[in-house]
Symmetry: C2
Subunit: 209 residues, 2 copies
Amino acid sequence: MTLNLYSLNMDKGLHYEAIVTTQNEDGTPNAAPMGVICKGPDQVVLRLHEGSHTIANVKREKKFYVNLSRDPLLFTYSLISNPPSTEFKKEKHGFSLKNADASFFGQVHHEKKVEKKDAMGENVTLMFHSQVQDIKQYKTESEPLNRAICGIIEALVNLSRVKRAPVEKKKEYTDRMKEISRVVNRVGGVEHKEAIELIKKEFEIRVKG
Amino acid sequence: MTLNLYSLNMDKGLHYEAIVTTQNEDGTPNAAPMGVICKGPDQVVLRLHEGSHTIANVKREKKFYVNLSRDPLLFTYSLISNPPSTEFKKEKHGFSLKNADASFFGQVHHEKKVEKKDAMGENVTLMFHSQVQDIKQYKTESEPLNRAICGIIEALVNLSRVKRAPVEKKKEYTDRMKEISRVVNRVGGVEHKEAIELIKKEFEIRVKG
């Protein structure tokens, strides 16, 4: 059976948290946590912020590996520094991570720059539209990491608490709800978006009560 | 093969988000999102806040069903009102949810009251130590919902942003990091706790930089 992204429990349109591995100019491996959007059974968009180490590698090589994992330490080491070199596995076009739940190769075919102003100032994101190949699934019962359900659960916790929150806390809850809603709408599917709308409506009622 | 909680990908000591179904005094079904702690292959603790509908039912009947799901609308309806009655399935000792990824029956054998003061005032939690029976797994590739990895990902996002955050935003990031750390330490496993400690240390360095 040929694997595709749907075999990895990915859904079209959803945004997943993954660890992207690339090759540095000197041939050494690099790993960093990144957002990956599933665009079809063999298509992804890699979302990278200007200035990262990974972006220089992807721009130069047009190649990367995506590693799916739920390992908190693998994510943490990938952001803070790099996982130990023993964690990397040599692949045909670079490196993947040995202990990933699944991995695949991405070949960039199209690049798009998105400039946006947010609370942090100017924000430049590069979207690398890529063809997926060489999908490997090491752990079948694993789900790719999507933050939408995290947001829904947190929003429900907020909702259940807001009524008995002291007045000075209500603004904090309201701000938090806005931020959660923003994330869920960015990374979630249709049902997550429907759920967050229902929660926001109920929140409006309870925050006044 | 006899299923146990570990077959559902639950780990000892971890805290999961689930939907608990109980029977009301008039025989109708009730569903609510609740925290369930896995204490062993056939042992859970149900954590309930004083005042909920579910708590009255569990106190009276000493029985409940736990439904594992990642369905955002099922969680949302269970908190706001109740899922439609067609979503419930009649079971020997009450009700479960038809579209759960897995479900099991819990029989309370021991009850403990925990009183705590927090930002919200007095907080009474009841811990129902329970024997698990009748485990059913409908979707094998699903993972039970644990908020620890959500917290780790959010903490990493915070960490990657704090350096370029304006001064007036840094306090917000620091407060948020405290709250995430509290949740991860409550619901996570050893590796989640280790990861959050590493992130906090690195955060301390970057927030000053």
